[in-house]
Symmetry: D2
Subunit: 346 residues, 4 copies
């Protein structure tokens, strides 16, 4: 039973059907097709504002292309120390950005707050000798399964904009965040000051379907050329676009994310005192100890080690397609661990 | 009726079925799945030698990643002046290769012969002041719908290797070339001296399924890191891998390519004296004159302008899924053009 | 006796004195000194227009930084096939430019004419799949010792600007060209449409003193950051600046170049029928045959082989400090060669 | 009176004389001259081991070229948070290194200790998703005017090598460190495990004279091509090389550094309780408070603000050519400040 990653999940039926339906006959390539052309309107409706949308196949590509479009080669991009762009993209932002620099910031729950960014900006005033502060990137939901609330984003974005920085959001799990927050998509994106969004659908039921969503036309700049140059302009763009359209239609995104979040909440509850972070999306972090982890694995549960080697920490991810019986079995196994039966530490 | 590009085609039923079949339940991500792990053996059998295989989603990514792995940033890559890497990838090889240089060479049918490469190498002996000759890349079938024969590749590769250059093949339409040549896949690849191959399936029935095939283990080097860093490591790798496996199995590649080639041969014959290049794959180039082109378009035929503006040249591409009735209609329309009824010029 | 390169020459007394005079006491670093600050006015007076000037230590740095500032990473820069940027900078423009592409053009005397550029631009209309035409770079005097006349530059620049390209001049030997043309510096630079100039002084008496001269303020952009990032912002900038000021003052540039040109003209005349290009600066190209070259070398004359191996071609460069007795000796030796005594071929 | 930076200083007479002496007549360019060719032996004697040496004009170029030669584009270079490469080179290492990443580490006196590096390496085990640990760079003397002792370097280098990392030293002020330590140059470089050194002479009396010194032949790799490609191969290399030869000869480096260090020690003593770091080279850091700083400036003393805006911190640098009377005047002014008269805090 896999609680390793939502990347382990299957493609949801609605998106698979969309691929099949888009396969009816020849069409123009490289995005001059009716599916790709419909993305702007579909995302516009979803976000309640005008958008320019580019499908890509991976979140790493989405993030790196977005940042490279916003930031010059000598630019600094502020990111949380746990951020996927820093930890899990093999330096893609630096590569796409011609050598830009990611500057690591601390923050609770893998979130950056405005004061932290302000402090970092003040500590090193730019000159010809320094990299130039250019953008901040935040992840929603974060790499620790937490969410940014609209006011937190707004405060950070206000500071960033006042200092001449753009605001990028890595929305690899934005659907999970939206389900938790119960707010409008606009509330945690453009309305709060996000300029460009990496919109993820792959983890939540897509095949390889991500999108870069620009909320400001003037920031699109040369994104199209950069995408092509990076090998991320799909000749058969329709199949990615059709997935994204299906994902937004009929609340597929919401149903899938709600299922995953419910699974995580159940697991989080079962972790009891070992829980490291409140569960606000579909990821759970627990400090079980190495023996308990080994015990769970012996029972057939697969999951990701967290923290430094020997830390006893683990990450559990619930997916859109997770079998409720698996969730129940896992919760039972967790509940049987002595560590999880104690009182939750604050 | 579209003769614009084989990128306009649909996904073939066998590959769509493979995607569906791979969707049975959770699996490991990022290529640690049984489909991706089976690629080495499947391509090994196809080529009759040991291979290391990496799926990617676009041919541009395949080419640029392969070249960047083989060539240092100050390296020179020799390519035909019509090559896709030079004309149609927005500088992807330069981007991935950290600023490597593509050096343009002439040659009949968009093919480079050994003497031309030798002349280019001799004209500018390398020193600390120059870029360093590092690789040659050839396209099979070429951008003018021609094929390299095994001995032509072998002669070029022998020279390249003698001069310390690697040999890369852009096999975006390798299936079409194989059908025309009737030879073994090995004959035009590793046995003739190709070191690394961009193996294309997308144009010939895939959804977004290409592969980089290494015929020498020692050249794989850091390809895996470069792919990840470029956002081309798919989290749900199984869907690309499953397509590639289905493509090689049961001769799907051959049936699809044979269909496309037959269409192109019929169109080529109908072009009569206007035909610019012998038809050896699924592309046809004809010098119809602008009025005839306009006439065909008025009849509902879509195709790509070739050559300089006003040259009267056109490119027609037949696809794996082209309706035979469309082919017949197009041949009839071409046959009715006065220009095509004349005697073929040499 | 060295006719190998003007890079073999010494530093002229006026510039050495300027270094010594600038060494009087502490001053601000990184260009905040009175010498560097005086460059704008000095070059402004020299060119008769407002300029922004940045000293650097090499011509390669000047060219690559200028082009990288003008051109995006996916941009195409048109250059003559013999251009230093293409042949002798180990890919510096591609490196500084984040992978930009140099496109090679033919042309008499290593000069590009407007029609050739126009043809190249028309042959490959830009799209999302192509690199984007962005600049043309010309060398004055050219790598074949020829000069562009003001009207030739103006015609080329007018076309370039009409097509949205910037115009860069590699002026490694601009002083030699000015002496030959007898025109104002403005006539072959901004007044003819040059946007940015690499102004060379090193070959003509400097220690390591080049400058990038912007004739349009709006094109300076982020040049200062790019220079620093490339390690070309000198902490002790005053010594480079002081040289440049001395070079422009009291016609040092003109006297030095005139001396070198006179030497080259004498050598060119002595080459007789073997002369390959009219002598218009301080470089001479002759097709002497390999035996004659060996004979000259046996007499102690050092020079550079030109053309392909065994072509019998040679390049002779006269320097600002060339001993007239050496020139006379060399002319005598050339005159004694049978090949040079014949009638000049057209 | 300037205590702003040792970059404000003049060129010392011995090095100016060396430039003049090297100006005797024509010679080969691009390093094929007797001065450049003598560098290997001169540095070899200085360090007591075989070296390969490349002159460059700036420390930023030296650092960035050295790191780019050692580290792949997806490599991580560990550096102290105060390091010049991180704070003062506008991202040069990232640019030269094709997008490599600098990872910031803490440490007393701007020094990295082995345990800190080990902790950082253990915290993020490398995988295909991460940048790959590749090198550590340390500065001698550090950016806080401290020195690494031989055993500290040896411990760090042993760990680095055990983990597959190379060790680079930014020796912009290595002469000042050597004077303080009183050890052999070998003791803090190759003998302690340093693989490649940026050897600085500019701050200590040079015009624009730095060198990259390789202590291992196999690490030189393609440094020569990278230097050329970056515009840092000087055509008139002899003038840089002659300076470096003169700098090593007759203990010029030692006399100059000893003078600067003596100045700094006197200033440091005068700072009394405000001194922030022990003075171990030619830099002094003091927490004077903003009013005291303003007072000193009103008296005509120029210096650099340190720390965050309003921190009251200042940096004073003594140069090789600092007038002893200026030092005395400055010490007197400092001594008159109430803050400096108190007891030194630990």
């Amino acid at each position: 039973m896999r609680f390793y990653s939502d990347n382990n999940a299957t493609v949801c039926p609605e998106l698979l059907a969309a691929i099949r339906d888009a396969n009816a006959g020849p069409t123009r390539s490289y995005g001059d097709d009716r599916w790709t052309e419909a993305l702007g309107a579909a995302f516009g409706e979803f976000f309640g504002t005008r958008t320019t949308v580019f499908p890509v196949t991976t979140g790493t590509a989405a993030n790196a292309l977005a940042l490279a479009t916003l930031v010059p080669p000598y630019g600094a991009v502020y990111a949380h120390d746990e951020a996927h762009v820093l930890r899990d993209e093999c330096g893609a932002p630096e590569f796409f950005g011609g050598g830009l620099r990611l500057v690591s910031l601390p923050g609770d729950g893998a979130r950056i707050d405005a004061a932290t960014l302000e402090h970092a900006l003040d500590a090193h005033p730019p000159s010809v000798h320094t990299v130039q502060p250019a953008a901040v990137t935040i992840t929603q939901a974060t790499e620790l399964g937490r969410v940014y609330r609209p006011d937190g984003i707004a405060a950070l974005a206000a500071l960033a904009h006042a200092r001449g920085l753009f605001v990028h959001m890595d929305g690899a799990r934005i659907a999970n965040a939206l389900v938790t927050l119960g707010c409008e998509p606009a509330d945690i994106t453009w309305r709060a000051g996000v300029d460009v969004l990496s919109f993820g659908a792959t983890k939540n039921g897509g095949l390889a379907a991500e999108a870069v969503v620009f909320f400001r036309d003037d920031l699109v700049r040369d994104f199209g050329l950069r995408r092509k140059r990076a090998g991320h302009l799909l000749s058969k763009s329709r199949y990615a676009a059709a997935q994204l359209l299906a994902y937004l239609a009929d609340d597929v995104w919401r149903r899938n994310a709600a299922h995953a979040n419910r699974g995580a909440l159940a697991i989080g509850a079962a972790c009891g005192a070992t829980l490291m972070e409140p569960v606000e999306a579909n990821e759970v972090f627990a400090r079980l100890g190495e023996p308990a982890k080994a015990q769970l694995r012996a029972l057939g549960f697969e999951f990701y080690d967290w923290g430094a080697s020997g830390s006893g920490e683990a990450r559990f991810v619930a997916s859109w397609d997770q079998d409720p019986a698996e969730i129940a079995a896992f919760c039972a196994a967790l509940g049987a661990l002595p560590a999880c039966r104690g009182t939750k530490s604050p």
